[in-house]
């Protein structure tokens, strides 16, 4: 047994725990995988909004001309724009892995 981990009257458990429970480095692929998943769910959200717009019937379109019903489409268009924007950012981020961090940020800032 090594000195320092077994004291008189017992183990220095805190010292042993500090040595045993070391932080684990995540694999490099995890970041890329997370970005892909986030991009996929963002894409799905955008497609869902697109499908909703395409499925409108004539009567629903007439109803939409009524200003009292404008809130929902306005919200949907805004949400679609945000979702698409997020998708573009994630795609740029993925492509930007080949470049520098600063390059990615400046490109995103210009958009």
């Amino acid at each position: 047994m090594t000195e320092g981990t077994e004291r008189k009257g017992g183990w220095d458990v805190e010292q042993l725990l500090g040595d045993a429970l070391r932080p684990i480095e995540p694999p490099q692929r995890l970041s890329g995988r997370f970005e892909d998943t986030l991009a996929a769910v963002t894409q799905a959200a955008a497609e869902e909004l697109s499908d909703w717009a395409e499925e409108l019937s004539e009567s629903e379109l007439r109803a939409l001309r009524d200003p009292r019903n404008w809130v929902r489409p306005v919200v949907a268009v805004g949400a679609g724009g945000v979702a698409t924007g997020a998708l573009v950012l994630l795609e740029l981020r993925r492509r930007g892995k080949r470049g520098t961090e600063g390059g990615l940020r400046s490109l995103r800032d210009r958009l």
Partner: protein, 186 residues
Amino acid sequence: MSGAQENVEPKQLDPAAKAELDRAFEDFYREHLRDVYSYAYYRVGNHHDAEDLTEQAFLQAYRHFDRARRESDGRPLRPWLIRIAHNLASNYYRDRSRRPQTPLESADPIAARHDTVAIAEGREELREVMENLKHLSEDRREVLIMRFALGMDNREIARALGRSDGATKVLIHRAIKQLQEEMSDD
């Protein structure tokens, strides 16, 4: 782990606010990835499921990030994030009714804090402490992971577990004491 395709879009924001939120989340992700991964690994005991759990934790965090920032009142968000991982890990065991499949000591620890000789000399003790860690109840094992693998203080651990500071201090004390007794019995 299932459920990756759930709606994770945060509350709709204007584009500028959304861009700022995404940048903040990117920093948050980089800052805490190792913490979440370490926690997940020590909870589930294998890299494959630890990756799934980490991914799920960050997806959930992304979904509620805006609200969490607003409600945090400037306090660190790490306990909130670890609480998400804690809930996911609990569901992982409850839903699948399985235990860690890989011995925890097979992890690839960061060796920066010790030289090779010290690690070689201490290997048997480390194996022993990891083995005895398995004999602890889930909540006792968990506070030790948070304290020693993540370096969280009592207050952070208390917030992550939804307990009072006092109850958390007692829990940590009892966990260490039990481990000490287990080690002495061997």
